[in-house]
């Protein structure tokens, strides 16, 4: 498959999540998306037109702009995604020779550049359309951090903490969770906490494209099915993260072992979007399946550490940049190991 086809397919994979984001956050989100893609396209044209001619049809600039936009908060001033896309295309991608030659993911580079430049602006969240309640514009992850910091550890799940702190879940969530609890789980003696429906479906504040995890995964399924990305990296990434957050996640907040709320953490923040659309980028990820597996584990560990102990509420983008740094080294080590094994066998 040509790289142009792959890039356009990847953009197509982003469509479900993007559509949901536009539905949830309305015109501001649409503006962010348009500006981000336009900036990426303009920068790409400015560099490649004099040298190679028109290259926008390879779809990679479009994809970079779209991914940057989907990781932005909806109410961010428009120059932020514009600069992020420009940085990603000009500095991270074109400086190193253009399509296929960058070692760092352009979208993640741009997003982290924005985090470092405008930390306050990158928290300009917006409430989902239809939620007028106070506090609805704060994403669950940030609200959890605030709640844990404010009143110390509680012996409940993350959603429970949010519930006690008065996080405004939607009425639909109340009825959905109530129905499931009474009709399905009550006989089993279990119960879903309030808010489960909201975070599953993505009816919460957050980045434009990252709130509805099932739609992200659906889009990613397309990429996996068509062979644009391989399953090893995302699966081991998310798996490692889930395992670590299950076992150790509760320790820092006093809930004890095996009480970290992996379900909540998988469904919050940019994690799944990054794991399927940024981490397994064929240009920047390792060349072998073993390498992808290893990098997936490394990314899982890094994201776990950054999310639970780091300064940003969400550490996925930063973790992916660190993964970009170490991926060539991983390739080199694995290659040398393989050649040593082969030498030994030949001898």
């Amino acid at each position: 498959m040509s790289s142009a086809r792959m890039a356009w397919l990847a953009s197509l994979g982003l469509l479900p999540a993007a559509a949901w984001g536009l539905l949830l956050f309305g015109p501001p989100a649409a503006a962010v998306l348009v500006v981000s893609i336009a900036a990426a396209a303009a920068c790409e044209l400015a560099v490649t037109l004099p040298r190679h001619g028109y290259t926008l049809s390879d779809g990679s600039a479009f994809f970079t702009g779209a991914l940057v936009a989907l990781m932005m908060p909806p109410a961010v001033p428009l120059y932020v995604p514009a600069v992020a896309s420009a940085f990603g295309i000009l500095v991270v991608k074109q400086t190193f020779g253009g399509l296929g030659r960058n070692w760092m993911n352009p979208a993640m580079g741009g997003v982290v550049f924005s985090f470092l430049s405008w930390p306050g602006l990158m928290s300009r969240w917006a409430a989902p359309l239809g939620s007028a309640a106070a506090g609805a514009e704060v994403p669950p992850l940030e609200a959890l951090r605030a709640a844990l910091a404010a009143s110390g550890p509680r012996d409940v799940t993350p959603l429970g903490v949010l519930g006690r702190a008065g996080y405004p879940f939607s009425p639909m969530d109340a009825s959905a969770v109530g129905w499931v609890n009474s009709h399905v789980l009550a006989p089993l003696g279990a119960a879903l906490p309030q808010g489960s429906f909201d975070i599953l479906v993505g009816h919460v504040a957050g980045s434009i494209g990252a709130t509805c995890v099932p739609l992200v995964v659906a889009g990613a399924a397309l990429l996996l099915a068509r062979g644009v990305i391989r399953w090893h990296l995302p699966v081991f990434y998310l798996g490692t993260f889930a395992l670590l957050s299950l076992v150790f996640g509760g320790l820092g907040t006093g809930q004890g072992w095996f009480a970290g709320g992996p379900g909540f953490h998988l469904l919050s923040g940019n994690l799944v979007l990054a794991a399927f659309f940024a981490a397994p980028d064929p240009v920047t990820s390792p060349l072998t399946d073993t390498g992808r597996l290893a990098l997936g584990i490394i990314l899982g560990v890094l994201t776990f550490l950054l999310r639970f102990f780091g300064s940003l509420a969400d550490g996925a983008a930063a973790a992916i940049l660190l993964g970009n740094c170490i991926s060539p080294l991983l390739d080199r080590w694995l290659e040398r190991r393989k050649s040593r094994v082969m030498e030994r066998e030949a001898a």
Partner: protein, 231 residues
């Protein structure tokens, strides 16, 4: 600072290369300008060539071809030099300079301490590992003049670390240096230099790579460290 904090800080948070900008031209990269020989050194048939690093100080050009220098040797010799220099600096500072009140002479004394230790290590390395040490590109005095060790020594003496803390700081800084050096070398091997605009090839690209890597390493900050160790 606790020992874990020192290791984490000197290896990652205040990485010698990415945060203090010391030792960059040598860190996994060729010298100031790429020569055709640099590309030759990328030849995969050269065994054990992890990088084409020239461990020369930025201006100490010999016009010679860039030789393949194993990253582990560069990292190991840097780590040893930094650790010993840090301890030596503490000794000199605590027993000589401070009691005599000559702290104003700290700079020249430290410069000579580091240079002297670098020469001594070079002589030692010639005895112990002659195959490595006799390559002119990796001569340890050049590493000393490269100011990484000196920079580290200045940090530890100003922060008034004790002897064991200094040793640990030096070792951690060396490990951090090796990590960055290896990563940059691997990235360099992956680049397709033909596609890079000519003005950017070589030194500018190396600096920009380091800059992007530095942004990635911003994830390791003091708040992260505090929470990680406090938890």
């Amino acid at each position: 600072m606790s020992w874990a904090a020192i290791v984490f800080t000197f290896a990652l948070v205040d990485n010698v290369v990415l945060s203090r900008l010391l030792g960059l031209p040598a860190a996994g990269q060729p010298g100031a300008r790429p020569t055709p020989a640099d590309h030759a050194a990328d030849d995969p048939s050269i065994p054990d060539s992890l990088t084409s690093a020239r461990s020369l100080p930025p201006g100490g050009r010999e016009g010679a071809r860039a030789a393949a220098v194993p990253a582990w040797w560069l990292g190991a010799s840097m780590t040893v030099l930094m650790s010993i220099s840090a301890v030596g600096a503490w000794l000199v500072n605590a027993w000589v300079l401070a009691p005599l009140g000559f702290t104003i002479l700290r700079t020249p004394v430290m410069v000579f301490l580091v240079a002297g230790l670098a020469l001594a290590l070079q002589a030692l390395a010639r005895r112990v590992v002659p195959s490595m040490a006799n390559r002119p590109e990796v001569s340890v005095p050049r590493l000393g003049v490269n100011c990484v060790a000196l920079g580290l020594v200045l940090v530890t003496t100003r922060a008034e670390y004790g002897p064991l803390q200094s040793l640990l700081a030096g070792a951690a800084a060396g490990a951090g240096y090796y990590l960055v050096s290896a990563m940059m070398g691997a990235i360099r091997e992956r680049l397709d230099i033909e596609q890079v605009p000519p003005a950017l090839r070589g030194l500018p690209l190396q600096l920009i790579t380091a800059g992007l890597m530095a942004y990635a390493f911003m994830a390791f900050d003091r708040a992260f460290l505090a929470r990680l160790l406090g938890a």
